[in-house]
Symmetry: D2
Subunit: 351 residues, 4 copies
């Protein structure tokens, strides 16, 4: 397979650093351009990046010269087959559109997620939504395109809801306990979270409640019809570094046994597994039977951070079932999600 | 008012220490006997107690000689008008019964909570359940009696559900994020909770699901008929010292506005407020309007730890409403609850 | 005693909030003016302040209109007898000088601490340094003056070194473990400190090493001659909310017994105690005999946060002695220090 | 090289688990016997071990039957070439002696560390102390022997002191900030350490002060003459999972420049590096130049947890130099230390 050259927008931020870490030694992708704000442009990456990963910054990345995050600068800086955007939500919109006129843009930002002709992709869940891409290119007259990854807390939830669809998923209530790294850097002040919980994350509940319906929706050849279900989310920030833990209550039309539900989770695989994509975890969903799992620190690295771990599946006196799900928010929920999406697009010929 | 003499069972434990701290300078109660396990009996309190309160151990308490937690030893040690039991759940049952043959026992243990003739009391919520006491004394042939306080996570939930009853409370889903002190001492190992959540607390979900129905049930002159509602709980331990935070979803028959619900919370008072009991907070429920409150560290001491703080009341796409409630688990949820219960019993003539 | 009117500069910041909290119901001082940056000027305090104290914002303070932190605006806003400055170090210098032309300025900023004619005051340690004030006023031609409080980690150290001076204090090595609140707000990002230590605090070691010598120096009628001793500091940030813990090694000329050292600590009092100033703790230094104290969470509130707690005093194989000291960094180390300094100046007629 | 069969004593504890984790796929060693207390004997490892590593328990280990930790049971359970003892200090003494009558015992316990004929080994620092083994065997009439690894906080300190010996090391003052995992499991209660520091670790200061002198001592053909230096330690427990951070002050006869000291650290290697032992890190000491490193979470895994990371080397106003060192306490400080010691003994023909 021909190797692809990758540009990363917002390469010095938390998600950007995670992209760099995960792309080291990737079998298909090479980092060719690192872009960031004007302030960093022209300097070597290691001079402008406050690297915060637990592994060392790859030496050759540290020596690369950062360029400004505009199409012209990026194209001049090197070959680019695709662009990973880790831009902050408030500025991502127009910059990503500019890039998409010529290049495939895989965005972690919320700006374009809910647009009609933009995929909101989880490779195992809704790969057929990629068919929006030719529609989008035609409609917008772009030679590139934008595809988006969902919000971190939504990805792991939707992954576990997908195998429940066959039981007739009607209602979902989810309460999240989300990790600090989800807020980026510097993010949550330590004085706010020590010996404390912050029971509010701006826009997070709305994202879960709207994005999930699109992800689980049906592509009808032209657009995605939102899934017909009621979803309610309550989001909390807790004193955990990585790994969102979610308490999920679901109402199902049919009344499967706990064992049937476990089987549905365990047997769930998708296109990435069938295509043996490099970042595809062997099991998208891992079911743990211990009474007190999943736990963020113990389970977030399952499947190299790409598996979602489910546990405590039990009958519910109000809804049908309740269970827990846990995902690594900056791997499966961010940079790893983007890389898996890119792999799927390459395998399917979109890039 | 005649002062009452109080014995504390399990006086060296976490709840026992909190009783001692809160009873210092109490206008009605004097600590006359401290009881603990045989190992501590015969020694001065300050020699056997690893005091962990942030305030100093009261000097005169430190000098008291601890006695064994049996009726004979306690009676010999001093006058006793009532007994606070902070005994561990697995041994509380028979010991409390032995004391109750002669004395009023106010128990924080789970052993007797769900028995037919034993009050499960929250003074603001179900003071009429105290009428079980004469029934219990008659039936069991005791001159004393047992009254119980609910589980800590249940107390704060039930307090906030009570004012919602008038809207036709049909279903409740609650997800808790509970503080470390709820597990007693030594309790949760630090290695288990650093950078982590433990999504399981033994028997906690069952306690919430059963106790709430009894607390909100109707005393029909002979027994308490359980409230007719469905309740589901998911309980998690988080890295917070004190203060349980609960995410509550309720389904109501009538559809009150958010403002009507706030009014119901704000205006809620009970017997303790009407009787101006010493430990009664001015407001049992405090409503906060900020987008990100209540928070454990900022709100747990409201009303000197006796108020429950409610916030983020909003409409819910699946149920009717969702909101947060927070209470201090070792004050309103444990020792403070016991003291307020005792005050109510004194005021009503039961002690 | 005539009440004094107080202006607070940087009233919305962490130290400013602590000033407001501590001045509530102060017997001598009334807050008459709250000043902050231009962005907040003209608005009510409660609208611009993200209040982070565990106690509620005083109602009347919340209604006060914030003014810009310049002399003219502050004077127009109300009567002012003295000014507490909690301004950030990088801008404090010229602003404080401007105020000092007319008013007494008590500064928590580092800008003027080491200037020859400016007191660096710890009321129990060097009250005679206040005699620099008339020299300063004369030399600078001001009707007001500037007096400074030392750095938080220095105050508690110097307080414990003072009673050791009589044993011939020659060398000091101190390793600090400092609380998050010392970095202000937002301060330390939670991602940097969870499961971690940051072994560096900008300029902190230099402050300890230089300020201590001035504080313990002798006023010779004209200037302060720096104490003749060697001091070395290593400063670390740890995951604690409030309370700096310091490990101190001292080399002494005479070789006192541990008991003599404890006596020196226990018997130490200063002008604030003799004058019974409102914020003076009964004991500036509390000695604890337990093997594992002082601890930040258990001891930081001793003496309402104004006492320094000392423990584990023992002989040292390299120096003479080693011990621990702990102080509340935002009370004794910041706002409380300023208030006690002001009280001393009032009592001594400087204000 | 012939593979060696290994028995682990106290295999279910925190250090035992780390041994199992690190020995997975070891090129020289196979785990043949797992021993623990009588309570676990006869059961499968996975049934009796509350596994707490972040990686999964090796499948084949989980299926092994645990035996009682006595010589007879262990020998019956399988071939054993050497024994790793992770026994608790209070019971390790006689059990280890019993095993040593026939087998090489590598002990993590303190029981035998300071005995005259027992090596206290850090493979890079004092490999020549292994020559005590034949002396020990002869003197005690054993066909096996005991060798010990130092205390975790001592290992990393002594490793960094060794290259400073050439500058004439006279005095050392060390203040430690030690991780929770150093206390084993359940270890430190979370209620004790949240928002807190515990400034005392039983026997830790004594261990550092005595063991270091033996490790750095000279083997004279018969015994180890203790190094002639003064050492003082102050030990603190902080809220960090893994990785002890130590602030070190040293007094040196010669006055090397900072650059000379860095060179001494950087160039330091020992027998494990020369022999290319499997667990030998490329660099025993890594020098970081950033102003704020080492940090526990960022640096503890350097060299797969086997390197010690040094930083902030600077001149000291009281002693000669001060610096920081950090090591992974359960890898370089415990199980990894034992494995490296075993490798050295195999390479040198002692096993």
């Amino acid at each position: 397979m021909r190797r692809r050259s990758v540009a990363i927008l917002a390469a010095t931020g938390a998600v950007g650093q995670r992209f760099i870490q995960l792309l080291e030694n990737h079998p298909w992708f090479d980092i060719s351009v690192l872009a960031a704000s004007e302030r960093s442009a022209g300097k070597r990456y290691k001079e402008v990046c406050a690297w915060r990963m637990e592994t060392e910054m790859p030496k050759e990345v540290g020596e690369m010269t950062v360029v400004n995050a505009d199409l012209k600068s990026v194209k001049e800086a090197g070959d680019v087959d695709l662009v990973f955007s880790a831009l902050p939500g408030d500025i991502a919109g127009p910059i990503e559109e500019s890039f998409a006129t010529e290049l495939p843009v895989l965005s972690k930002a919320a700006a374009h997620r809910m647009e009609d002709d933009v995929p909101l992709l989880i490779p195992e869940v809704n790969p057929e939504h990629l068919e929006l891409i030719p529609i989008q290119k035609r409609r917008r007259g772009w030679s590139g395109f934008i595809s988006t990854d969902p919000n971190c807390s939504t990805i792991q939830l939707a992954l576990t809801l997908k195998p429940l669809m066959k039981f007739g998923l009607r209602k979902v209530i989810v309460t999240t306990m989300q990790a600090l790294s989800g807020a980026g850097y510097p993010g949550v002040p330590s004085l706010d979270i020590i010996d404390n919980i912050i029971p509010y994350i701006a826009k997070e509940e709305e994202k879960i409640e709207t994005e999930t319906k699109k992800i689980l929706g049906v592509f009808d050849g032209e657009r995605v019809r939102l899934a017909d279900m009621a979803i309610s989310a309550s989001c909390n920030r807790v004193n955990v570094k990585d790994g969102h833990l979610e308490v999920v209550y679901v109402d199902l039309e049919s009344k499967p046994t706990i064992e049937e539900v476990k089987e549905a989770f365990r047997n769930f695989i998708g296109e990435p597994q069938r295509l043996k994509l490099p970042f595809a975890p062997e099991k998208p969903i891992i079911v743990r039977d211990e009474i007190d799992r999943p736990q963020p620190r113990l389970d977030r690295d399952a499947g190299r951070g790409m598996s979602v771990v489910v546990g405590r599946i039990r009958n519910d006196p109000v809804m049908t079932l309740k269970y827990l799900c846990l995902g690594h928010n900056t791997i499966r929920g961010a940079a790893g999600a983007g890389i898996l999406s890119a792999e799927l697009m390459v395998a399917k010929g979109y890039i």
